[in-house]
């Protein structure tokens, strides 16, 4: 099977088979990351540009490492807010980068749809590294990769996604990805954090964390965006943490051996208790490790190097 997409803009249009192809491709690259010399020549002579309009350490570094381990040339480009103020549009910025013969542009942008807008305007392949509240497809794919490593089978796997689903691109991408591969998805949080009609994406909604956690195999905690305080989404961090924070006590409500995931960066003591974050159940650092392999797989598939 070959990968027929030119861009990776969202998980929504991918089939279960395509998702599995990405995970299988990542398998071979995970092995590379364990070698003494962590490099293969697959993307030699190709140029990958990381175009990040939002601050990001983890995702940008992960893409950079992935591209370098494939022997691509990598440029990191983080337009400051001032260049936006100067009036250059996203499309103009991207066309300038394209004029330098970029093969793949990895875009992180605060506006939903930015990657799609960009993909329409340039000839390079575009990878969405997070666009507003819309999607963060590589995060969902690395989450699936991690789950597959630990749980083997997605079918019937019960996953609770906890927190501010409305404003989370990670939640949207994971809901699409998990439901496509046969998992049973719950979303847990106050109604202020649930977007309109979320059940129509095939998930069940829970207002109460204890009920939402009962019997689940996987718990995905979302980062509480502290800057949203004062927007009437939750009264105080104290109350949010009491109602929706994951503690060791609550973890017992889940199935034995349940996994705890978090896309990072975590707020220790807010959405997740420190002992839970550091516990045996936590696969938070495996997610980071796998992120490089999964992104290598995606860069490889989009570069057409497999054809």
């Amino acid at each position: 099977m070959s990968f027929k997409h030119k861009h990776l803009l969202s998980v929504a249009p991918l089939s279960a088979d395509e998702i599995m192809l990405i995970l299988e491709t990542a398998d071979s690259f995970k092995e590379v990351s364990g070698r003494e010399i962590k490099k293969v020549p697959a993307l030699r002579g190709k140029t990958v540009v990381n175009l990040f309009f939002e601050p990001s350490t983890r995702t940008r570094t992960s893409f950079e490492l992935a591209a370098k381990r494939l022997s691509a040339d990598v440029i990191n480009f983080s337009p400051s807010n001032s260049s936006v103020v100067k009036g250059e549009t996203l499309l103009d910025t991207a066309r300038n980068i394209e004029a330098m013969q970029a093969d793949i542009i990895v875009l992180r942008h605060p506006a939903a749809g930015a990657a799609e807008t960009l993909a329409r305007g340039v000839k390079s392949s575009v990878i969405n590294a997070g666009d507003g509240w819309h999607e963060h497809p590589t995060q969902a794919l690395l989450d699936l990769y991690t789950l597959r490593e630990k749980k083997r089978n997605f079918n019937g796997l019960r996953v609770a996604i906890v927190g501010d689903v409305a404003h989370s691109r990670v939640a949207r991408s994971n809901i699409h990805a998990l439901t496509k591969v046969g998992a049973e998805v719950r979303v847990v949080g106050p109604r202020t954090m649930m977007p309109f009609g979320i059940e129509r994406l095939g998930v069940r909604m829970y207002d109460n964390l204890d009920e939402g956690l009962r019997g689940v195999d996987v718990i995905m905690m979302l980062r509480l965006q502290l800057e949203r305080q004062g927007r009437a989404l939750y009264p105080t961090i104290r109350e949010y943490s009491r109602l929706y924070g994951l503690t060791a006590e609550r973890l017992k409500l889940a199935e034995a051996g349940a996994l705890v995931m978090h896309p990072g960066p975590i707020n220790r003591g807010v959405e997740i208790a420190p002992d839970v974050a550091d516990s045996f159940s936590s696969v938070i650092l495996d997610q980071v490790t796998n992120g490089v392999a999964v992104r290598m797989g995606i860069l490889y598939l989009l570069s057409g190097a497999n054809q």
């Binding site: 942008h109 749809g113 666009d131 977007p195 309109f196």
Partner: protein
């Protein structure tokens, strides 16, 4: 100048609906009837197989001058108007500077005279700078030629200020026009809040943001007895409340835009900025409610909310792109779809573009009665054509209807007895 429009189907709502000729002398309609004789000096316009209607009136356009002439000028805007069969347009005050005083109103009227296309009736601001705080000099605006007052685009959030504006406006018998939007509920939103916004990850504007302000405005109109006109209704809730208010005798009129009866929120999919509009495109149920409101007269008027924006502005990311659609040059065929669907009779559809808007703003326009100003739209009712924004007279091209095959085309537009537009 004398013009005889011969052999057409005259649709002059409430007066004539059938084959008739129209005679125009010295800028006025002088006779409407069968087999009129052409005076010796008359230019004869053959209207066989076409509709002959009072020139259309648009209560809601944005002509961007002064301040944003790169989007539209009064010259280009009125050229677009007459190409769409509109002979009178009411331009909203959200220019830069805002039309909140006599001198801006006079500037607009002077530009309109120089352009020599459509009649322009300015709408003055409710508050100074449309800041929602202090009343603008509404008496002066009225005297200078404003036909209504509105803070369109920057709705008056303070209910006391709105109450005072309504009370004060009574002395000048001007309608108070509101763009109904609770700015707290809509904050940050850029499309309808619904399943589509959830899928796209875009911040939404709930229907309630419109509904609560419609409710407030109706309560204030009842309290004050002022004339209220509600701009671009987009929700089923608004239609329901206006219907109820009318049945209770509140002095309210309402308009709907073609995009709100033609399109749903689905048009935004793919982050199509040409479908970005305020109020946003809503759901199928809302579209049905708008059509029902048009059918039963709850919604009096079809207006375009013609809102030109430059190409580079609409090419931005969805959240950053400005709201608006150019509407003047597509309104006629889109209105005809309501006739085709059986929502409105042809006469009722024409009334929503002529007699009804004239009544809402007390304009001495919108009729072909002998003695009336000779503003006429002659249109084909069935000819099909493809919407090509490159051919628009408007300076801007922002329409979600590009490439649509539509039926019905404006052939000739006459303003004050002068032919100002003919289809090339």
């Amino acid at each position: 100048m004398t013009i005889l429009i011969k052999g057409g189907q005259v649709v002059d709502p409430g007066r004539v609906n059938g084959p008739a000729d129209v005679l125009i002398e010295n800028g006025k309609v002088t006779a409407v009837g069968q087999k009129l004789k052409a005076p010796a000096d008359a230019t004869v316009v053959d209207a066989a197989g076409r509709g002959v209607m009072p020139g259309f009136i648009d209560l809601h356009v944005h002509f961007r001058e002064p301040g944003f002439e790169y989007k539209e000028t009064i010259q280009s805007g009125t050229a677009a108007a007459v190409a769409g069969g509109f002979t009178s347009v009411c331009c909203m005050p959200n220019t830069s500077p805002v039309n909140d005083n006599q001198s801006i109103t006079e500037f607009i009227l002077e530009k309109a005279r120089a352009a020599g296309n459509a009649n322009v009736f300015p709408v003055g601001a409710i508050t100074k700078g449309s800041e929602g705080k202090e009343l603008a000099e509404i008496g002066d605006l009225r005297r200078a030629g404003c036909v209504a007052i509105s803070d369109d685009g920057l709705p008056v959030m303070n209910s006391l200020v709105m109450r005072r504006a309504m009370e004060y406006a009574i002395a000048f018998d001007v309608p108070v026009v509101d763009h109904c939007e609770d700015l707290h509920l809509s904050e940050g939103g850029c499309m309808n809040e619904g399943f589509v916004s959830t899928q796209l990850g875009l911040p939404g504007v709930p229907a309630a943001a419109e509904d609560v302000m419609v409710a407030r405005n109706l309560a204030l109109a009842e309290l004050t007895g002022a004339r209220l006109h509600l701009a671009h209704l987009s929700t089923a809730g608004s239609v329901r409340m206006v219907r109820d208010a009318k049945s209770r005798g509140i002095k309210v009129t309402a308009e709907a835009c073609p995009h709100h009866f033609m399109l749903t929120e689905e048009a935004v999919c793919g982050y199509n900025t040409h479908a970005k509009i305020n109020p946003p495109l809503r759901t199928w149920a809302d579209v049905q409610a708008i059509k029902d409101g048009l059918r039963d007269g709850t919604i009096d008027v079809i207006a375009t909310d013609h809102a030109p924006h430059a190409t580079q502005e609409k090419q931005q990311e969805f959240a950053a792109a400005p709201n608006g659609i150019v509407g003047l040059e597509t309104a006629w065929p889109l209105t005809l779809t309501l006739v085709e669907e059986g929502v409105l009779s042809l006469e009722a559809a024409v009334a929503k573009l002529t007699t009804e808007p004239a009544r809402a703003f007390s304009l001495q326009k919108g009729t072909l009665a002998p003695g009336a100003d000779a503003d006429v739209a002659i249109a084909d009712l069935r000819e099909s054509w493809e919407v090509d924004p490159a051919r628009f007279r408007s300076k801007s091209r922002n329409t979600p209807f590009a490439g649509w095959k539509v039926k019905g085309r404006i052939r000739t537009t006459i303003v004050g007895g002068r032919v100002v537009y003919e289809t090339p």
